[in-house]
Symmetry: C2
Subunit: 316 residues, 2 copies
C-alpha cells in the first residue's frame, strides 16, 4: 500500500493541510482560518479537525498516515514539541505536543515553517533532491532555512537559522528586529520598496514615478518593471538590490557551502533573469571562488505548497 503523509502549514491568517505522497506530490488539500482568540487549546482543536477532514477526503484516518508534520511560524523547539515564541500565533513556551494529545493519540512532528519550506524545496522543488541547501525567502522579511545532510538545521532549541538577521552593514539601516544593518533591512521586499521610494524622490524623472502613479501604490515590482523598460534609475535600484541579495547569500555560501542556494518568496517570482543576476555576483564574490566550486543559485518551484510538502517531508 502506498504511503501517505500529512503536512500542515500554520500561518497567521490561515492553516493549510494536505495529504502528501512519498514523491512529494499533494493528493488533496484544504484550509481553515487561523483563530487564536479562543486560546491555544481551541486553536489546536481547529488544526486537528482540519487534519481529520483532509485525511478523510483521501479516505484515510489519522492513524493510517505514515507521519504528520506541522510547520509553525516562530521559534520552534522541534525536539521537545514546544513553540518558544510565535508573534503571529501569540504562543509563548506553548507545548504543542501536549495540546495535540488532548485530541489525538497519533504522534506529530513540528518545525519552524520556513525550515519546513526549505526541506520541501530541497527534496521536491528547486533543490532537486540534494542533501545540503540554503533557502532564502525574499518576502516582507528575509527568511532562511538550512538543510544539512538531508535534515533541517535549526540550532539549539530551534533558535538558529535566523539568516535574515546577519549583519551586512554595521551601523546601517534600522531593521524591524531593533538592530541596525541586518540583511533583511536591505534585501527584503519591504526594503526594496523603501529603496524604490527614495529613488523616485531623488529622480522624479524616472519611469518608476509614472508606474507608481498609475498603480496607486508602491511595490517591489515597480523597480523591476521600469528596469525592463530601460529606465536608468530603476536599473540602478535593481542592480543595487541584487548586490544586497548577493551579499547575504555569499556569506551563507562561505559558511555552509551547500549544494545549491534556492531563492523563494515574492521577489523570486521576478524570474530567471533576476536569479541569474544574483548567481553571477555570488560566483564572483564567494570565498576561494577560483579553487572551490560555488553552488548554483536557483528559484523555488513549489510556491505556496512548499510549507505543506516540507512539513510532510519532515516525517519521511
Amino acid at each position: 500500500m502506498e504511503k501517505y503523509y500529512l503536512g500542515v502549514d500554520i500561518g497567521g491568517m490561515s492553516v493549510k493541510a494536505g495529504v502528501v505522497g512519498a514523491e512529494g506530490k499533494i493528493a488533496v488539500k484544504d484550509s481553515c482560518v487561523t483563530r487564536i482568540d479562543g486560546g491555544t487549546e481551541a486553536f489546536i482543536g481547529d488544526v486537528h479537525n482540519l487534519c481529520v477532514k483532509v485525511a478523510a477526503a483521501k479516505g484515510l484516518k489519522l492513524s493510517d498516515l505514515s507521519g504528520i508534520g506541522m510547520g509553525i511560524p516562530g521559534t520552534v523547539d522541534s525536539r521537545r514539541g514546544i513553540v518558544t515564541y510565535s508573534g503571529n500565533l501569540d504562543f509563548k513556551r506553548t507545548n504543542v505536543f501536549r495540546e495535540w494529545q488532548k485530541f489525538s493519540e497519533v504522534t506529530i512532528k513540528i518545525g519552524n515553517d520556513a525550515n519546513c519550506a526549505a526541506l520541501g524545496e530541497t527534496r521536491f522543488g528547486g533543490g532537486g533532491g540534494v542533501r545540503n541547501s540554503v533557502l532564502v525567502t525574499l518576502g516582507t522579511g528575509v527568511g532562511t532555512g538550512f538543510i544539512v545532510d538531508n535534515k533541517i538545521f535549526e540550532g539549539k532549541n530551534g533558535e538558529g537559522a535566523e539568516g535574515g538577521h546577519i549583519c551586512v552593514k554595521m551601523n546601517g539601516e534600522k531593521c524591524t528586529c531593533g538592530e541596525r544593518g541586518c540583511w533583511e533591512a536591505y534585501a527584503s521586499a519591504a526594503a526594496l520598496v523603501k529603496q524604490t521610494a527614495r529613488a523616485i524622490k531623488k529622480h522624479p524623472e524616472s519611469l518608476m514615478r509614472e508606474i507608481y502613479a498609475e498603480r496607486g501604490e508602491l511595490s517591489a515590482r515597480i523597480a523591476f518593471d521600469a528596469f525592463k523598460k530601460g529606465d536608468k534609475t530603476a536599473e540602478n535600484v535593481v542592480k543595487r538590490y541584487v548586490r544586497y541579495v548577493a551579499t547575504g547569500i555569499t556569506t551563507m555560501v562561505n559558511i555552509f557551502r551547500p549544494d545549491v542556494v534556492i531563492i523563494g518568496g515574492g521577489v523570486s517570482h521576478e524570474g530567471e533573469y533576476f536569479i541569474k543576476m544574483v548567481e553571477r555576483l555570488v560566483r564572483r564574490h564567494a570565498f576561494g571562488g577560483r579553487f572551490n566550486k560555488v553552488p548554483p543559485v536557483v528559484g523555488a518551484t513549489l510556491g505556496n505548497d512548499a510549507g505543506i510538502i516540507g512539513s510532510a517531508a519532515m516525517t519521511m
Copy 2:
C-alpha cells in the same frame, strides 16, 4: 588496555604530533620543521617519520593506535582525503590518503586545521564537552570552526566554515581575500594593529604612542595595555574593536545558535575581561535575546595543543 590516538597539527612552519589519550590529554609530543621544497611525497614521508617517532616514544607502533588524525591548513575534503588547496603547503588537489599509503597501511583521517582545533576546544577545552559550538580564532586572520552535533561542520567538499569572510560592512575595508567588508578586515589582530596605528596618528597625545615608541613595534596589545592604564583614545579603539568582534559572533549565533562560543587565537590571551566585554554585546544584540537563551562566550584553554588534541579527537 588504554586507548591512544595520534594527533598531527600540520602548519606552514612546523609539524607537531602527539599521542593523545581518550580524555584528551597529550601523553607525549614532538615536532619537525615543515619542508615542502622536496615535493609532496617527501613531505608526507617526514610526517610519517614524525608519527612513527612520537608513537615509539610512548612504546607504540602506528598499528597500535586507535586512530590517526591530521589537521591541515587549507581547503580539505576530509571524505575523499584530498587537500583541494593549501597556500601554506603549496598543495593543489593533493591526494593525502594516497601519498600516506606509500608509507603506511594504517588509515588516517584528515581535516582542516582550524576545524580540528575547534573540535579539540569543544570536547576537551573551553567548550567543556558540549555538542554544538562555534570557535572563533582571532589571530593574523579570523578563523572559524563549527561543531554541529559533536561533529566538524565543513560544508560541501570541506569548502565551508569560512566565517572570517562573512560580509559585515558592504563596501567596507579591503580584506586579504580581495573582497571588501569581510569580518576578518575588522576583527583580526592585524586589523586591530591598523586601527591602533590610525588612532595614534589622529591622537598623538595618546599613551599608545608612548608605548609604541618604547617597544619599537606596533602590536595588537598596545591598545589593550594603554586602555588598562586609562587612556581615552585606547578605550575607544578597544571598545570599537570589541564591537567588531561581537558583530561577527552575533551573526554566527543567529545562524548556528550553538551551546557555546569559544574565542581563541592571540587576542584571546587578553583574558577574561575582554571575553566578557564581547559576551555582553553578543547578549544584547543576538536575535530574540529576550526570549531565546544566548550562548555564553568563553576563552579557549588548550592553546597551541588544540590542533594536536582536536586532530586526534576527529578519530575518536
